[in-house]
Symmetry: D2
């Protein structure tokens, strides 16, 4: 909808506009850019190189303490298109977190949901509502909305990982709550999490008379690389396709792991490429293993382990493998789907994401 | 989470910060206001008086044409706290639309969903995907996401009504699509809408072998005042309570009328008052009949027919009736609920909205 | 799967069979009729004439009291194919109940669900968990599983109506519970039911902060003829079809009125006919107004008000109107659908019931 | 509801009764046993000893061929209370199937759903709609409603397993369809099933762009003992309880594996016992490993591997371990729950099955 010219005498209009302003009103016909033919996101395709992230994380580790008050040593990816807002895409916060040996990032909770994805290293324990989750390379760890969480590094070696939060969404909805947690949830490290023992038994194996299931999100808080790796291999094997993508889901009820962020991982064998897809809403990619090229819109970025990428709304993207490459991905797709705003397009096949939608929904 | 001071040598930190900026990164520990104990909305409680809205609508009618290019003669309520953004609350666009006699606001469609609520007058027909919906006082009319809609005023008298759109939400998700429609959907005015004949038969009466149901929203596009009035009276009668609130819902599957906006109407008998409630997310009120006082946060506003009010997130509000008062209300509650972010509080009883949540859900 | 002959020595087989019998085992290969190409129901198409039902109800009224111990004056329709079982079709009990003036059928409850459909007369009040529901011609009244219910006839004139229960289903599942109720729930007759005042407001109008919704069934217990009649007329008008069928549904969440019985009503204008349909599961029809012919399988039955018909599983049926005819129908379709066993066929169009299925589901 | 005596003159009643019979009607007040205070099942608690089942299976293997026409070498467990009907409980068919080396049980499909549970041995491949599923001890294999299935034994050793079908339910609903399948689906044995490669990746790992999910049932057709064993051990570890019970579920959407049969497995450490439970509907138990005692109603049965037990509706049952014991269980619980007829009682704790119900539901 474009703005337009019209013919009333200027002084009359001026008078009307002054009155409108006085009454805190604005004339729609003078507003432009509200309704565009296609999404016009301010975010741009972008890459944050893993090598830089690791190095800057290490330097921050040397210079900045982590304790009550600061809470976290985190470097937020700021999409250059967003005018300084600390967001990778308009709906997602992405960042790297660095924890030195023998440090503890103290407990707190907030309504924004968070996930941690580990590219390398191991040894930190994230304690979620008292349940200790070991973090190792390739693992996906959830700290859902309003769960207390702290990070312990009982060893001597520093560790770094990717954080993604739905903070921009929760903030836009004026629904941010925050609370500092009780200190000293430590000491509970060292064993397999209760979450995994209850709900990580195997595909389709769920406890009878288990704890009450949390609303809106998965009761399983850790997805282990050994499982993911094996599942990717089996999937590649059965599809006979050029690549395979898994979704992380609630193992008891289906559906996404959290109500605002979909988590997926793709494996692309050497020399192969994913279809070129686009969809409404933003996406963050993180390379786990391998190297190649990631194309987003008109940009072609080299891709190495630890690289983080921003895929803006309605922007085509594809992963081209040099060596076999594993790419973790998170998007706001559950939000778009819940609100009836998801559009998907496969630019390689011309199709849309019908089957994808079908596989998503537990309670849809 | 508050920002903090720490003790590294300034020049080293300066160096780090420069490098971070160069890499489009920001240090979390220097960011403030991201995670607040409670929602800190910029929106303020506000009233747009009906008397002014009607008068300014009339003046705009005299000065500004409605035709292809401008499309709509609409005055948007701009919450003074939002720095000039044309939104009543951060998630909702609210506006009055004025259509002169014998005018047509031409057809278009957009992914933002819209609703129309009529305070006075009648005679305009909103044509939604070819189905003509007569508009009269007290009626709620839906123009859901991506439905073509145009407004016809075949009579000689101007008409004004309330528009509410989820535009800020769709915009924040970078999911706005817009398309101009085919002209000349007119001529189909004059009869009861197909939507009502299919799905408005009565409580719990639904067609077998009817048209395919639209995803995510009600197939019924008009909720008539005669029904609403009778239902409010019956509800007041059976509850024996100080006031009654109805929700408009999908008559076939339950659930909200649209995936982003909940619509409700309350009747408060003379001298009575609603409970004081607050919840996460924003709300817009519009007085249909009667007068009294509407309290939002620390403000007490007089309330007259046609008045529009902004209720910011987590701000207590209540309606105090002078004469018996009917107040229409729309909120972003379906979004907050779908994302697990809804918190409600009844400051009068101390309870929360458990039953409300229960009544909301379609298949829950 | 047919049985077969084979060649082992008889005496060895005899020995095996004796041992099997001793161990309470049977050889599948000697069982026939377990797995048939199509459903082979024992039920037959049948008609119970309304004229006879009224007359025999009246005579039973003269001869048989209704009080504690007998509880109900009910004549059960026994499908002649079912070997004396008192069921109209293998899954449904259908019967006429007769209540004389000034009689009370005392309170009890049971896990089988029941519905009442009134063909003529009025004045009895069915009290369901303390809520009095007036009964009049064309009304559908629900007494769901495990609700206390009693019938009061405060006037002088007798009244008769159709009862349908899912008793055979509940019985086959060994899930029948029964309890006598407290006497003297009477005296609460005379006003519009609370159920209707809460949930009968209008299409899509539901209370906020209403009573907790019952699981598995509609909170609305009475569907009034005035609404149904108007909805049928509107539906005929909008479809432009040869006939119209409405489903009675839960007005808050959608879905069938009770988890075991679907209720529908069809209007066929004079000279018109419904499509010829068949589906798995049983169905009971009852003519409300008008006359014509009802065809079930190879049978053609005259149809008059008050006639009850049995439609066995997978048997084609159609209604042919002489004068305009209204036919109420109840089936076990929700059971078949919940268990993935529903098959439908439209022998007139060749299609299947896709749209029907779509309209049914609340949380689907 | 008991029958009663009343006082009308006999000859008048006789006349009425004759007329009723002539009209295929029965007077409710002369019917007894329809509505009982509690379920009165005809089934009795029963044990079929594994030792006998193996021996009789072997003898049937010697005497009875398996080929087109007979199709299956199956011995059906006939509950002695059911008057000769070949059902273990009124809603479930349970049987042992014996397949000799180098035999093929030919392909067919039917609307009744079936499951196979293997107590010992391995080497048979069940081919379901062309997908070969290897069968080994402790595995649960599904052949859902209307899927073609055949059994191949390419090795030289015979194999025996438990079959459970919902045949009585489908039969009571007059919804049995049967079709012989194309021969020669063999030759596809030897690899891991496509079903497992698609959907057996790990807890919560589901394919994106996988095959369309089947309605009403799990897309995963084999649940492997290695997973189940590990999950039982983890569950025992985390609960700190006297025993652990897992449910087999749809790994993508949650919910039971098939719409009519719930599958569970319990591990009871040596010397421990399960709670004593009862619920509406029937259940079949099968001992996988270990020995002990199984109590059903007033009966105490010794329990050994391969033993099959019938648990009638509303009959208390418990497993008492001698050595550590693993007991597989299947019940009609999804049917009872879908129809709102499930009642559960824990006679050990006095509680009911609230949490159980919560864990069941996909979209609930």
């Amino acid at each position: 909808m474009t703005t337009r010219q019209f013919s009333a005498a200027d002084h009359e209009l001026d008078g009307l506009y002054a009155q409108l302003a006085e009454q805190s009103l604005q004339p729609l016909w003078e507003l432009s850019g509200l309704l565009t033919e296609e999404p016009r996101t301010r975010a741009i395709p972008f890459r944050w190189p893993g090598r830089e992230l690791r190095e800057l994380g290490r330097r921050a580790g040397d210079l900045v303490p982590v304790d009550r008050g600061g809470d976290r040593r985190v470097l937020a990816c700021c999409n250059p298109g967003l005018g300084g807002a600390p967001y990778a895409v308009p709906t997602l916060w992405a960042a790297v977190q660095h924890l030195r040996g023998n440090e503890v990032a103290p407990a707190h909770r907030h309504t924004p949901s968070a996930l941690r994805f580990v590219v390398e290293g191991e040894g930190v324990w994230t304690v979620v509502d008292g349940d200790p989750l070991h973090m190792g390379a390739g693992d996906l760890i959830l700290t859902p909305s309003w769960t207390f969480h702290e990070h312990h590094n009982p060893g001597d070696r520093p560790m770094i990982w990717l954080d993604v939060l739905d903070l921009p969404i929760v903030s836009a909805l004026d629904a941010v709550f925050f609370e500092e947690g009780p200190d000293g949830q430590d000491g509970r490290t060292g064993s397999r999490s209760a979450s995994e023992r209850w709900f990580g038994g195997g595909p389709g194996l769920v406890p009878v008379d288990g704890p009450a299931l949390p609303e809106h999100r998965s009761p399983l808080l850790a997805y282990r690389w050994a499982d993911t790796d094996r599942a990717l291999a089996a999937l590649l094997d059965v599809t006979g396709s050029r690549y395979a993508t898994l979704r992380y889901s609630d193992p008891v009820r289906g559906g996404d792991v959290m109500p605002t962020m979909r988590c997926e991982i793709s494996r692309v064998p050497a020399g192969m490429a994913t279809d070129t897809l686009r969809q409404t809403g933003g996406r963050v990619l993180c390379v786990l293993h391998g190297s190649g090229e990631i194309r987003i819109g008109a940009r072609r970025f080299a891709a190495e382990p630890g690289d983080i990428f921003a895929v803006p709304s309605w922007t085509p993207w594809a992963v081209h493998a040099g060596t076999e490459i594993d790419v973790f991905s998170t998007s706001d797709a559950p939000v778009l789907e819940a609100l009836g705003l998801m559009r998907t397009q496969n630019l390689t096949t011309g199709g849309n994401g019908g089957v994808t939608a079908q596989l998503t929904g537990a309670g849809e």
